[in-house]
């Protein structure tokens, strides 16, 4: 598509075509291309070839999971009840999607309108991340059709997961509402947009509360297993706070990563305002992320000191822990700080990739790798890995499809 644009193709940015007539919904879905052009573009894109390959293998296995049960795609471990589906799909996806509430807070609450051009990307990143976390959950639950039981059928309000379930559900609706304006512009429903504008402050505050609690709750889930998670990754008192603070830098870093990817691969869809502001905003996000990183580093150290876990640092697990901390926390912290000081957006982008990696490593370490550290290591079944890749690929497909259409990376031009 980038090359198409350089050949003079103009993407849809308003309800009106160049000749003054209106785009139909179908034409908008086709990105303003003729069907033939549209499919030709899809076929030419090598990334799509990769996706088709993933689906060719992954879809049958995903279907098989629901026909033959979890036992067919996992090792059916009683000792490791949670595998990659939750380890990756829930514990990694959700913090990486914390960008939604932070952009909402920055723009709507703190009135930093200068972040406006990236706010919607932050919100979308949040919404899709949560949506697919729920998808992963649906793959993992033994009886996915009972998903609403904790809401309406049999309530266990004293459990941490109860809080997660309710908050993720409520927060999802919040995020949908926050993105209604983008959808409304694209479809041409001005009323819906007006309505959301009235309640946006409420939505944002709700988003902050829900996010603080469920990001923390994901950490608190592990306090049910005090002896099972390795002490270096476990802290009764600070687990929830560590998960919350790391979600802050993870969400911001993920936003930098995604915006970088859009700049590279979807440039045709970005408008001038977005592209021109991106470097400045990246540095703004980097500043926020570095503050969260330093806070995180400090509470990690406090956590170790509080439980007096120092002696573990000398073990093999300790070396692994240091690797995570250095590559995933300390280096990004240094690079972010340097980037902000020197106004170097590329360095901030590199740093963001590291921070995202560090977050993912931390969650996988907590949920899987160091879990049951006194027993044995569980290596996920290959089918489990294939399903994770397939669902994640779908996440990317949906993400890309929305970005290509709705006014996320560009500003919609209303007719005057």
């Amino acid at each position: 598509m980038n090359s198409l644009k350089s050949q003079g193709f103009a993407p849809v940015v308003s309800h009106l075509k160049k000749d003054g007539s209106e785009w139909t919904v179908k034409e908008k879905l086709m990105l303003g291309l003729s069907p033939k052009e549209y499919w030709a573009v899809q076929l030419r894109n090598p990334f799509n070839w990769v996706l088709w390959a993933i689906y060719a293998v992954g879809l049958p296995i995903l279907v098989g999971r629901f026909i033959y049960g979890l036992g067919w795609v996992t090792h059916s471990s009683y000792d490791y009840p949670w595998g990659l589906f939750l380890g990756w799909g829930l514990f990694v996806m959700v913090p990486l999607s914390a960008s939604g509430f932070m952009m909402g807070t920055t723009v709507e609450l703190f009135g930093r309108k200068d972040f406006k051009s990236i706010e919607r990307l932050g919100l979308l990143n949040g919404l899709l991340g949560y949506l697919f976390a729920v998808m992963f959950l649906q793959v993992d639950l033994g009886q996915p059709w009972r998903l609403i039981y904790p809401m309406f059928v049999s309530l266990g309000p004293a459990a941490v997961l109860f809080l997660v379930a309710w908050h993720v559900a409520t927060y999802l609706s919040c995020q949908v509402a926050e993105l209604v304006p983008a959808f409304a512009e694209w479809m041409g429903f001005p009323k819906a947009k007006q309505f959301i504008k009235k309640i946006v402050l409420g939505l944002t505050v709700a988003g902050i509360i829900l996010s603080t609690l469920h990001q923390g709750a994901l950490g608190a889930l592990f306090t049910y297993a005090p002896g099972k998670v390795h002490p270096l990754w476990y802290s009764s008192s600070f687990q929830w706070f560590q998960f919350f603070v790391s979600a802050v830098f993870a969400g911001l870093s993920m936003l930098i990563v995604v915006s970088t990817l859009t700049k590279w691969f979807m440039r045709w869809r970005c408008d001038e305002t977005y592209l021109n502001n991106l470097s400045k905003l990246t540095l703004g996000l980097a500043k926020g992320a570095s503050l969260a990183l330093i806070t995180y580093l400090v509470i990690k150290i406090i956590g170790i000191a509080h439980d007096n876990d120092w002696q573990y640092l000398a073990s093999g697990w300790g070396a692994w822990f240091m690797f995570e901390m250095v590559v995933g926390v300390i280096l990004p912290l240094i690079f972010y700080t340097m980037a902000v000081r020197n106004g170097n957006a590329s360095l901030a982008r590199f740093s963001a990739f590291l921070a995202v990696f560090g977050l993912a490593l931390n969650r996988l370490n907590t949920a899987l790798i160091t879990f049951n550290w006194q027993l044995y290591q569980e290596i996920p079944h290959w089918r489990e890995v294939v399903i994770v890749v397939t669902v994640y690929a779908t996440y990317i497909v949906v993400y890309r499809a929305v970005l290509a259409r709705m006014p996320i990376l560009y500003t919609w031009k209303e007719k005057k």
Binding site: Y68, G71, R146, V205, Y224, P226, G227, D307
Partner: protein, 307 residues
């Protein structure tokens, strides 16, 4: 043989449990630990010194609970040599609510046999972690599970400190948690001892009120101090359990986790649960305040570029 003693080659790690136990004694924990279960609840005292590993209890449980036929018959001693991943001994599964493990203890005349099943904790981790309230602790002491509401998130399996609940992963349509229910609906409810207890030819297990069993346990230890280690496993572990154990071999040598601490598992979660109402009440005011402040600061400047 060495493989059985996972603790012995992981000594370095044991301090972790101790550290956790230390955290458990922090302020929030006390209140949680004071529940201690129903006063007249029943329990079982298992005297490991008497067990000969005949697996009659396994067979009785299988019959009582209508479980599928085992892979190897109940008189086949080769199951004792089976190892699951990590060289660990056999554990409870979806087909077996109770299993007997064998431990070769250096210097002991015979191997030691250990019966494993749900311990029916006073404050069960499985119960407190379940978000659909599928578990119930009955006044009689059994920890029951309701398969009709279970969503299958398996948090209870993550939470159980004894690695007890199993899951019928093989079922696509109705997978459920499988664990010992202390024969509640067929026996305990009517005041009868569980099937495995009654079936045991060696009278390894004594069924009775938990508080009486505790007295009995300590009495046995004081009568024969040489025959037992001075510890009733389950008296205080994770807030106390209905099934308790006497042994002549230190518990950490025969696969028992002796670093669980005396606080129920839920006490480790309390720090988080305590902040929930705080966040719910303080955050809205705080952030709306921030909003008002930052908007006043910006003045009317932004009024027109809101779009």
């Amino acid at each position: 043989m060495k493989k059985l003693h996972r603790r012995s080659f992981l000594k370095g790690g044991l301090v972790g449990g101790a550290a956790i136990a230390a955290v458990g004694t922090s302020k929030h924990a006390e209140a949680a630990g004071s529940f201690g279960g129903y006063p007249d609840s029943m329990g079982v005292l298992v005297d490991l010194t008497k067990c000969v590993g005949c697996r009659t209890c396994e067979a009785a449980c299988n019959k009582e609970q209508g479980l599928p036929a085992p892979d190897k018959s109940f008189d086949d001693p080769s199951v004792f040599e089976e190892k699951r991943e990590g060289g660990l001994p056999r554990r409870t599964t979806e087909k077996a609510y109770t299993v007997v493990q064998k431990y070769d203890v250096p210097g002991r005349e015979h191997p030691l046999f250990r019966k494993v099943q749900c311990n029916h904790c006073n404050e069960p981790a499985c119960l407190t972690s379940c978000f659909v309230n599928a578990y119930k602790k009955t006044p009689e002491g059994a920890v029951m599970y309701d398969p009709t509401v279970c969503v299958g998130c398996r948090t209870c399996m993550v939470a159980c400190p004894f690695y007890i609940p199993a899951y019928s992963y093989s079922s696509a349509i109705n997978p459920v948690v499988k664990k010992c229910i202390m024969c509640y609906d067929t026996r305990l409810k009517f005041g009868k001892p569980p099937a495995c207890v009654e079936a045991c030819p060696q009278e390894v297990m004594t069924f009775g009120k938990r508080k009486d069993l505790l007295k009995l346990a300590h009495q046995r230890i004081s009568e024969k101090p040489d025959a037992y280690v001075d510890h009733v496993y389950g008296e205080n572990e994770v807030g106390g359990t209905a099934w308790m154990y006497l042994s002549d071999v230190p518990f950490d040598k025969i696969g028992y986790d002796t670093h669980l601490g005396d606080q129920p598992i839920i006490s480790y979660v309390k720090e988080f649960l305590a902040i929930v109402p705080m966040v719910l009440t303080i955050w809205p005011a705080l952030f709306t305040g921030f909003h008002l402040l930052s908007n006043r600061k910006d003045g009317l400047k932004n009024e027109d570029n809101k779009s």
